[in-house]
């Protein structure tokens, strides 16, 4: 069992990434993720790993692209406005099939918004964000422990599928402190015959997303889609709470899922049969897992710190079988357990 320590979510994420074999970190200051960059500034050089403060998020993601092209485990982190700037580079990484870790400690938007926690970047993370037909594998932790563990595991996933992985947390998860156990898992090593390390005894490798001559680009796109279908089959992660004999299914991720757990307890104490399904991978989304549990359900309630983004995927999964209700707070406001409990009572 790993040693128990106390850190905030951002620092725990940094330590997790280092334990997951992170070779290089490239960042740019933005609240509420600054503790992560600061943690890496201290701890990466200490372990003789690369740390660079880039001149912008655009540069940082392209440094990740370069590090990944050189076969290294590369990462960057930011918060919402900075993640918007990274979208071009993320699309290029997806197109060039480069692995890497991108962390979004979400804050409220649109625009400069505020540094308060939010879940309004779901669409950006899950539906693309950048241009072209691509996906990110998106992991949504709901505790400091998970933030730490997912960071450690993310590079294996990225290398296995040769694609960028995103960890989607928020200002609350990033800033709060919780005791957790240090990850002591084993890192997988992957052959990277495609990496740019110097063409010793072979012809040169090329990393690119440009395919000037048809039908190259369609073939590459079809191969990407095939990979995405495989990931949808293999990598869906979710968690349930008191769902077995529930008649009302709450669906929530990250910070709102923590609040929903407590609201479920209050509801159950009142005799309302409520339970929670918490998506951990936002893409691939646990659609089948939701639809397979609808037989007993009278209703579904999605709770998000947004105007309702994930609820669209929940509605697709439910496909009209039962009504899907929504409760959300916007612009950096975090709902209380009481508010969720009142909503449950109102619809149950």
């Amino acid at each position: 069992m790993g040693k128990r320590v106390l850190m905030n979510g951002n620092e725990a994420l940094g330590e997790g990434a280092i334990r997951g074999g992170c070779d290089c970190y490239f960042g740019y200051p933005i609240t509420p993720q600054n503790e992560l960059t600061a943690y890496m500034a201290v701890n990466m050089p200490q372990r003789e790993k690369v740390f660079v403060q880039a001149e912008s998020e655009v540069a940082a993601i392209n440094m990740v692209y370069g590090g990944a092209a050189a076969g290294k485990r590369a990462m960057t982190s930011s918060s919402s406005p900075g993640i918007s700037l990274k979208q071009e580079g993320i699309s290029y990484m997806a197109g060039a099939q480069l692995p890497g870790l991108i962390v979004n400690v979400q804050r409220a938007g649109p625009g400069l918004g505020d540094i308060q926690p939010s879940q309004a970047d779901y669409f950006q993370a899950v539906k693309g964000g950048g241009h072209g037909d691509y996906r990110l594998l998106v992991l949504a932790p709901a505790s400091v422990q998970e933030t730490h563990d997912f960071a450690a595991q993310s590079f294996d996933l990225a290398d296995k599928y040769r694609m960028p992985v995103m960890i989607l947390t928020d200002g609350r998860l990033g800033q709060m402190m919780e005791p957790f156990e240090l990850w002591e898992g084993k890192i997988e090593t992957f052959d990277k015959p495609w990496a740019l390390i110097g063409a010793k005894g072979r012809s040169g490798n090329a990393i690119h997303s440009y395919w000037g001559q048809a039908p190259g680009l369609e073939i590459v796109n079809l191969a990407l889609q095939e990979k995405y279908r495989l990931i949808e089959k293999e990598e869906v992660r979710f968690d349930t709470y008191k769902l077995d004999d529930a008649e009302l299914m709450l669906v929530a991720y990250g910070t709102s899922a923590r609040l929903c757990r407590e609201a479920v307890d209050l509801a159950c104490a009142d005799g309302i049969k409520a339970g929670l399904l918490r998506p951990i991978t936002l893409w691939p989304f646990p659609s089948r897992e939701i639809s397979a549990r609808l037989a007993r359900m009278k209703k579904v309630l999605t709770v998000e710190m947004s105007a309702g983004q994930m609820v669209e995927d929940v509605r697709l999964a439910v496909n009209g079988a039962v009504p899907v209700e929504f409760y959300g707070r916007l612009g950096g406001a975090v709902m209380t357990v009481r508010e969720i409990y009142e909503k449950i009572k109102a619809i149950a």
């Binding site: 070779d23 290089c24 490239f26 690369v50 660079v52 880039a54 001149e55 912008s56 655009v58 540069a59 940082a60 392209n62 440094m63 990740v64 692209y65 370069g66 590090g67 990944a68 092209a69 050189a70 076969g71 290294k72 590369a74 071009e88 580079g89 290029y92 060039a96 740019l196 390390i197 110097g198 063409a199 010793k200 005894g201 012809s203 040169g204 490798n205 090329a206 990393i207 690119h208 997303s209 440009y210 000037g212």
Partner: protein
């Protein structure tokens, strides 16, 4: 009779037919790079970064490990690669739209950090790949699809002088401007880029070579004439000494209109001030345009 080869295609040059227009500087420069890499014996530890522009498929022509980069982001990609592979020889190949417009921030900060990679900056005063639009380096009076009446410094600014701008920084070890014009110019280009690679291999920071390069296609050739009037002027001015600062040979890109006219007096004297200010004691600019 025994035949001995006196000239061979460089090993680093792939057996591919290039897509460049006849007379384009990119093809010449690709060959020079291949020759330099062969001569230095560094093919197996060299990593190139290609830009977005007419030279985007550098990897189809040079048999090296090469990464494409997003438009203007080559300095960041080269930073990522060279930080991760300290023993490698890394170079970035960038056009003028790529480096001096969309990627201005990236190149200035990579230069300031003193990143360990060579920059080959191909300045053809135009956006070649997208069809001949105005670049930050387009000469005063030069026509393009987006400045059909010629570049007017009043509203479009004067051509950006990247060598001068970068030489205001302390880190770069070499800042040079050369031109791909005539055998002498090509030989000097080759020698200067080779020097830049040697600097990088010796651990010196951010060697930077600007290569003035022709884009015959978008310099609007006239049917029946070998060179357009503008291209002939480019050649003439690329040889002329600066009329403002005799130590400077960037005349074509800053002090003169593309049509040969001298710029208005106030502008000239302002630039004179600029020019003396931007040449630092430490780095200096090598001008090998003669």
């Amino acid at each position: 009779m025994v035949m001995t080869p006196v000239y061979k295609k460089p090993k680093t040059l792939r057996d591919a037919s290039m897509h460049f227009c006849p007379g384009c500087g990119h093809g010449i420069l690709h060959k020079l790079l291949a020759e330099i890499i062969d001569e230095l014996g560094i093919r197996e530890r060299t990593i190139g970064v290609a830009p977005v522009g007419c030279s985007v498929v550098l990897y189809d022509y040079l048999d090296l490990d090469i990464s494409e980069s997003a438009h203007g982001r080559a300095p960041a990609v080269a930073t990522g690669i060279s930080r991760c592979l300290p023993g490698a020889v890394v170079f970035a190949y960038q056009g003028d739209g790529d480096l001096a417009s969309i990627g201005t921030a990236e190149v200035i900060h990579a230069a300031n950090r003193g990143e360990h990679y060579v920059t080959v900056f191909v300045n053809n005063t135009i956006y070649g790949m997208t069809g001949g639009q105005m670049a930050p380096t387009t000469m005063v009076g030069q026509a393009s699809t987006t400045c059909p009446g010629g570049r007017d410094p009043e509203t479009m600014g004067n051509p950006m002088r990247m060598c001068e701008m970068l030489s205001a920084l302390d880190s770069p070890s070499l800042i040079a401007r050369v031109k791909l014009d005539g055998p002498a110019g090509i030989r000097k280009t080759r020698a200067t880029i080779k020097q830049a690679f040697e600097y990088q291999m010796a651990g010196k920071k951010f060697p930077f070579v600007e290569v003035l390069s022709p884009c015959p296609t978008h310099w609007k050739p006239r049917p029946g004439k070998r060179w357009s009037a503008s291209a002939r002027k480019w050649r003439r001015f690329s040889r002329s000494r600066c009329s403002v600062n005799s130590a400077c040979r960037t005349g074509i890109f800053c002090c003169r209109g593309f049509d040969g006219s001298r710029l208005p007096r106030p502008l000239r004297s302002r630039m004179k001030g600029n020019l003396t200010n931007v040449i630092p004691a430490k780095a200096g600019i090598q001008e090998v345009l003669a």
